[in-house]
Symmetry: C2
Subunit: 503 residues, 2 copies
């Protein structure tokens, strides 16, 4: 069959296979979305089983003979047009990666992950890392084995990172973080010498419904298409997509912390705008999907920080915000508000950190993960190492494990190599925003008038439309004219915080 | 393998197969629920595709070799305990039924159904049955072929009914409806001779939020477990279940028609209480599912009519309702309210009909469907036949096709043999309620005090817990001591309406 079928026909078969798999994965994503938003309490058990069944069926199809044969034949013929070829190559890479791990290993790891997750929950309850230690150590053994089964050029950590940020190397990250550390520390020292900014008014009582309504207005203003998506409430904010015409974000509302809802909304909107901008015609195919987690995070951070925490954005929106919350904000000037939402202060929790200290949280985790995967640190050593690093880099004493090494869920999910993408996101964001600004010098004027369309269109054209057609490195070069360069982030930070802290 | 595996082991395999299929079907049901409640507008296309993929996969597994082999072996061994044997037998019957239709026929019919549905939508828009006629005629040809492929004893219509009400015969229905018609007509004549009851106050403005809140209170009062289900808004009210711990109902609210929301809520709650009462341990298996549509409908009607439109129920709830809607109801006495919600008047739309004239709507459709399937009527003849029957039985002139033969969606879905279950539901409801009342003579006193628990517990014990362990006939006899007997419905109706219309 393979020999006499034209490559175009064969491509159609591939497309139909992979879209069928996508249908199942997306169905599973709907079930997970429902689980986080509307599932009644007692429904959890069978829901877990339903998701597991869909996952299993998708896995059977992805690793099935028929799909593999089509892919292999198409890859070996190598005669498809560029985009189609790219789809097939990426699918083949993914297939090859999946098949390096035998199913016995996958099942055993999945069981360990499940145990780890429960141990992490338990450890958080008891506020004791010791409860999590044994399961985490087991998981590290699995991740090391996974790295060696997958293979890597220079460092086993790269095999794990590949899942999130394809092609990213330890050498590159080491260099990037080494270059970042001194100027960032310098900036933090300067800010530390200045008077602390008052942000107490952000923690007054902000009623739920008004927060929700204001959030929806901002999301609309930024260009989220509510005919192709929606927002709901969940315990932890997230973005999920079932196709580019159905992208859903969630938020949570803390009536005593205005920041929690609003920048959460904007962050998720950034992710969602990317998903809504992916090409519909490539549904289910690699080119219909985001290129990497670093680029995905660049979109959320660009909207959250470069837009949502900028002065031009609030020049447009602050008066309205004051009208919605007169009691809380009528005495607060725009410049005070702007300083408050950009207050820099070392803190214990990564997800609540400001734009600058944030990267020390990431660097500490990155170094720690590398040491674990190299075998130069054991799970047992984590709390001591963690607390020492927070003292060293952020000059802050870790009070307990919940506010220390137990704070993030990632390890308990078996995700190692994920954290660096958070910092990469900020760096890409600054560089992309700078490139857009260079081509649209009046962008701040637009933003002062509530117009962010020019930015969205630039991102649609330079990032979103390509899906996985280019990897993050290529995409960055194509969009900005150069590879990732942290100077953009440093320039942005210096400019912003010099203005706020007056130095 | 089959020979050396014990029947218990083999049963476990069967169980795992059928539960896997149930997971996929339930996942699809979640996607459909989402489609009716929260799906953003543009998401419809890919959602359709995702549901189609899940349906296809479930079908492949249901008709697959492995599943069939296990079933056949277990059926032929015939050595399982009673409940397990019943599950296997029912699954085998279902498998056999499915396999009588070859896949070419199934696909062709599914395409015709799809065309018919669109034609029906179009015909409704243009208010012209002629637009639907050709597709409906094609569909009737398919249904006749289906009946002959499935096989039947006495009448082809029975093969189609079997899907909804297993074992129900044309002889039985003919006899039932023939016995019903004269006394029902007699009752209607008596009521027709009395003054029309005023229900105009039900059509004042009833604000949305208050309606919703009142509805939720009533649903809770009736025993719906909100930890194992939820209510949302959709265009057409429905009940869906993903397992007995996750049962969802929907409602719609018309601010100018109080009845539309409330009795809709109670009706769906009746369905939902059945689903929540099905045995969790039989998830995915026949014994974990309702026995027939007639029995399902008996649950919704029992709560809607025998409870929700009863005087004892409103003796408890009316004062509260008046407090919620003082402007609309403060001048209305309980007996006026009770008469209004039970007003009898022939009308054109089945779903809005009162408890008595309702059955003429069903009888007309039943006779019509039989004639179509027998070949004694063609689609072309429908409007004339329809209008003539409405004149004959309800003495009412059909104004147009939308208020006539185009009103119901069922035919366009390919459902023939469904309508009789609506009437059977009312008959079963009356008989079940009477049996419960016989064993609990104080039930009306309980209801006057807002206590319907005794009724729910009786239904749990006599109906819900059994799932498909008995067919509707057996279940009715077990619960009430006799087969379906319409005298219970006639007694209930006579007693109720004599009281309201004073004769």
């Amino acid at each position: 069959m393979m020999i006499t079928t034209s490559s175009i026909e064969l491509y159609k078969e591939y497309r139909s296979c992979i879209q069928r798999i996508a249908d199942i994965k997306n169905a599973s994503a709907v079930l997970q979305w429902d689980q986080e938003t509307y599932l009644p309490q007692k429904g959890a058990f069978f829901r877990g089983q339903q998701i597991a069944t869909l996952t299993e069926i998708a896995h059977e199809l992805v690793t099935g003979r028929k799909y593999a044969d089509i892919l292999q034949e198409l890859v070996s013929r190598n005669d498809l047009p560029e985009k189609e070829l790219r789809n097939v190559q990426l699918s083949w890479e993914e297939y090859t990666r999946q098949n390096k791990l035998n199913s016995r290993f996958v099942r055993a790891m999945s069981e360990t992950v499940s145990k780890s997750f429960h141990a992490w929950i338990e450890a958080r309850k008891e506020n004791s890392f010791a409860v999590f230690e044994k399961e985490l150590e087991e998981l590290v053994v699995f991740k090391k084995e996974e790295a060696s089964m997958i293979g890597y050029k220079h460092h086993p950590y790269e095999a794990l990172m590949d899942e999130f940020e394809k092609g990213c190397t330890v050498a590159f990250l080491d260099k990037t973080f080494n270059n970042l550390r001194p100027p960032l520390k310098n900036l933090l020292d300067k800010i530390g010498g200045k008077q602390e900014r008052d942000d107490s008014f952000l923690y007054l009582h902000y009623p739920k419904q008004q927060q929700w309504d204001f959030g929806i207005e901002i999301i609309k203003q930024l260009g989220f298409d509510f005919e192709a998506g929606r927002q709901d409430i969940s315990e932890h904010p997230f973005t999920t997509s079932f196709n580019s015409n159905d992208v859903r974000i969630t938020t949570r509302i803390n009536e005593n912390d205005f920041s929690s809802m609003l920048w959460g909304c904007i962050h998720e909107t950034g992710h969602a705008l990317y998903e809504q901008g992916l090409p519909e015609s490539e549904y289910g195919l690699p080119l219909g999907s985001y290129t990497s987690l670093g680029i995905h995070e660049s979109q959320s951070r660009l909207w959250e920080n470069n837009v949502g925490r900028s002065l031009p954005f609030w020049k447009h929106n602050y008066t309205h915000l004051q009208k919605v919350f007169p009691e809380q904000l009528k005495e607060i000037r725009l410049d005070q508000f702007y300083s408050a939402i950009n207050k820099v202060k070392p803190s214990l929790i990564r997800t609540e950190a400001d734009e600058l200290t944030y990267h020390f949280h990431v660097m500490i985790r990155y170094e720690l993960e590398k040491l674990l995967i190299e075998g130069n640190l054991t799970a047992h050593d984590i709390p001591a190492y963690w607390n020492e690093q927070y003292a060293k880099y952020l000059d802050i004493k870790v009070t307990d494990d919940k506010h220390g090494c137990l704070q993030d869920v990632h390890w308990s999910h078996g995700s190692f190599g994920y954290f660096p993408t958070y910092s990469l996101g900020s760096f890409y964001a600054a560089q992309l925003f700078a490139a857009c600004k260079k081509q649209n010098p009046a962008i701040y004027v637009y933003m002062e008038n509530g117009e962010t369309k020019v930015l969205l269109e630039w991102l649609r054209k330079n990032i979103h439309q390509y899906g996985k057609q280019y990897n993050s490195n290529e995409l960055c070069e194509k969009a900005t004219g150069e590879h990732l360069n942290i100077q953009y982030f440093l320039d942005y930070a210096l400019d912003k915080y010099r203005n706020i802290y007056k130095f």
